[in-house]
């Protein structure tokens, strides 16, 4: 078992630049953060602030340029592609704004997809696990539907079930309500909140305060810097109101 005092995610002086034709575009500057197991964190910021880049680095989809990223007490700098793929298969999972379900494929098959890349879960257990995950997001009656036969909210709940099925240490959700109407958005956020109540660590990226408010902690990113890191919604609300004036 992991030591609970060790943060799940710790970044020290982390920077990220993109290089295009030899031209450096810095995106993140000297960030320091700790996220513990069981937290529900929202990373907020306007578009272009670097919040998605931060999530991609934390989710092992992209590499940072400088600084340290320590995951469960272990530095990740030296990990090769296969080791990163293994972490993505076993420790982290994602819910995307655009759902990213496989077309012409059933709900069950979509939810089972991550399990084919999981090195330790036996193939005989896949269906049972997938069905349990589908049940947790309340879509059991839609198990054999094709992904194209679902509403946007249902698609996103399938994506949540897919993120859940490997029992990862952390679930990253990138603008999960961005493509949904408000009612569906609320349902999706409630599903994520329920997962957090069950002990899952959730890191949410959003630019909507309403969505971020489902989280217990909000980290605001602006121009590649951490602007604020707080769970004080009152102050945030005041700031927002102030900004609107």
């Amino acid at each position: 078992m992991a030591d609970p005092s060790v943060p799940l995610i710790e970044i020290q002086d982390l920077s990220k630049s993109y290089f295009n034709d030899g031209v450096e575009t810095p995106v993140l500057f000297h960030l320091n953060l700790k996220i513990h197991k069981g937290e529900f964190v929202a990373i907020m910021g306007p578009s272009g602030s670097g919040k998605s880049t931060l999530m991609q680095i934390l989710g092992f989809l992209d590499a940072h340029t400088n600084g340290e990223y320590i995951f469960q007490g272990e530095p990740t700098q030296a990990l090769d592609d296969d080791a990163l793929a293994r972490i993505r298969a076993t420790r982290v999972s994602f819910v995307f704004q655009a759902f990213n379900l496989l077309p012409r494929t059933t709900v069950l098959q979509n939810v089972m997809l991550p399990l084919i890349y999981h090195p330790t879960i036996p193939s005989g257990e896949r269906q049972k696990r997938a069905e349990r995950a589908i049940e947790l997001v309340g879509l059991t009656p839609r198990t054999d539907y094709l992904s194209s036969q679902l509403s946007g909210g249902q698609k996103q709940r399938v994506a949540i079930a897919r993120a859940l099925v490997t029992n990862p240490d952390v679930i990253f959700a990138d603008e999960p309500t961005g493509n949904l109407d408000s009612a569906s958005g609320v349902a999706v956020m409630q599903a994520l909140k329920k997962l957090n109540d069950d002990g899952h660590t959730i890191i949410l990226v959003t630019h909507e305060l309403g969505t971020a408010q489902h989280a217990k902690r909000i980290i605001r990113i602006k121009d590649g810097h951490v602007e604020s890191d707080t769970s004080d919604f009152t102050r945030l609300n005041t700031e927002s109101a102030h900004n609107l004036k």
Binding site: Q56, D81, P103, I116, Y117, R162
Partner: protein, 408 residues
């Protein structure tokens, strides 16, 4: 990722768009199908030619008048270099037997009101020996017919059908040219030889043919070697050169006024024909498989582009470089395997249809397939899938998960 998962993912990739997959496979289907069909036709033709050679007898030889100079048009009828005296001396050679001179012509034959053109062969009894040709009705021309200058005729099945229909020909009188002949028998069918029917023939005694035509030479001679072909051919050449006053120590066939062939040579010719056929088929296979392979590579590249987000998703879910590479490589190999199988089935089906059509023209043509060609064609298709699948699969595997997910 288990191998079964790789297969299932690849199969899913192919079945998502069946029509496109079929069109992609078309090049491979045509490539493998044409190889199977061509090699089946080759095998069948080989059977036909081998059948003809074995019907000539294992030790069969033939001498044509003329020179090999100037090509095949210089061969055969109209040349008068083989004389009756040559035949008499050839008969004395110990290394050949059943020496059978043939005087050949074509002309109308009539029975009652039925008239038909036929090939007329003036032959001796030895001819039927060295050609392995028995009578199916009546009897063959024998030595007493030849020695006695008897006006008798032996008809081949097609000639009999044309002249007599259902009537029994034995003992009937037919008119060939201006002379009447009594039919003594019917020969077994020979089928076709070199795309010409060998069954529209009327055989008459050699001596009668000499008398009727007034010909001072023979059109060709058939015989059987008693020992090895090499010795028999040397003997024949030595004798004829001496008799014809030809000095040819270098054994240059252009200097001779005759040509000796053996069934062994026919076998060698067959060998070179089938080698040519094999090269031809291999060329077709190579070209069509390359074209098919390029088609597959093209569609796979399109498919990789179309499915960039899917690849990004799979990588985000934990797929390794190798998982993606194998998935796309398996897809392209699967396309060629399925295409190859369809091509094989189609090729065999076409070969069966071809056999049933050609059988009407060439009675000895039977359906035959060349298993090695089928296996080679199939393996080449699979290799095509591997070779042409590598580039798209590598492109897919090398995509960065984040960039792939962002792809619009």
């Amino acid at each position: 990722m288990h191998l079964t998962d790789t297969f299932q993912s690849a199969l899913k990739g192919i079945t998502v768009n069946v029509n496109r997959s079929l069109l992609t496979m078309l090049g491979i289907i045509i490539g493998v199908g044409s190889v199977v069909l061509m090699s089946a036709i080759g095998s069948s033709m080989q059977g036909v030619i081998l059948g003809q050679i074995s019907s000539l007898g294992a030790k069969s030889m033939v001498i044509f008048p003329g020179s090999s100079e100037g090509g095949p048009s210089a061969l055969g009828a109209g040349r008068d270099s083989l004389t009756f005296e040559d035949i008499r001396e050839l008969e004395q050679l110990g290394t050949i037997t059943t020496v059978a001179p043939i005087i050949y012509g074509a002309g109308p034959a009539t029975y009652g009101k039925e008239e038909s053109s036929a090939q007329i062969f003036g032959v001796t009894a030895a001819f039927f020996d060295n050609q392995n040709l028995p009578a199916i009705e009546g009897r063959l021309i024998d030595t007493s017919d030849v020695n006695g200058n008897r006006y008798v005729a032996l008809v081949a099945p097609e000639a009999r059908d044309k002249l007599f229909g259902q009537e029994d020909p034995i003992g009937k009188s037919i008119k060939v040219g201006s002379n009447h002949y009594t039919v003594i028998g019917v020969t077994k069918a020979l089928g076709s030889q070199f795309f010409q029917s060998a069954d529209n023939r009327i055989y008459i005694p050699y001596s009668v043919a000499r008398q009727v035509t007034g010909q001072k030479y023979v059109n060709y001679v058939t015989m059987t070697a008693t020992e090895s072909f090499a010795v028999a051919i040397d003997d024949v050449k030595f004798l004829l050169r001496r008799r014809h006053g030809i000095k040819n120590p270098a054994d240059d066939p252009k200097k001779d006024d005759f040509i000796v062939h053996s069934s062994e040579e026919a076998g060698q010719i067959l060998g070179s024909v089938s080698l040519g056929l094999t090269l031809f088929i291999t060329t077709i296979a190579a070209i069509s498989l390359i074209v098919g392979g390029i088609g597959i590579m093209n569609i796979m590249l399109v498919s990789v582009t179309e499915r960039t987000r899917e690849i990004g998703l799979r990588k985000a879910l934990g797929a390794t470089h190798r998982d993606i590479l194998l998935q796309f490589l398996t897809e392209s190999v699967m396309l060629t395997v399925i295409g190859g199988l369809i091509g094989m089935v189609g090729g065999v089906a076409l070969a069966v249809i071809t056999a049933s059509i050609v059988k009407n023209i060439l009675a000895t043509y039977v359906f035959a397939i060349s298993l090695p060609s089928m296996i080679i064609a199939f393996l080449m298709a699979v290799i095509t899938g591997l070779v042409f699948g590598i580039t798209p699969a590598k492109r897919a595997a090398e995509l960065s998960p984040m960039e792939a997910l962002r792809y619009e």
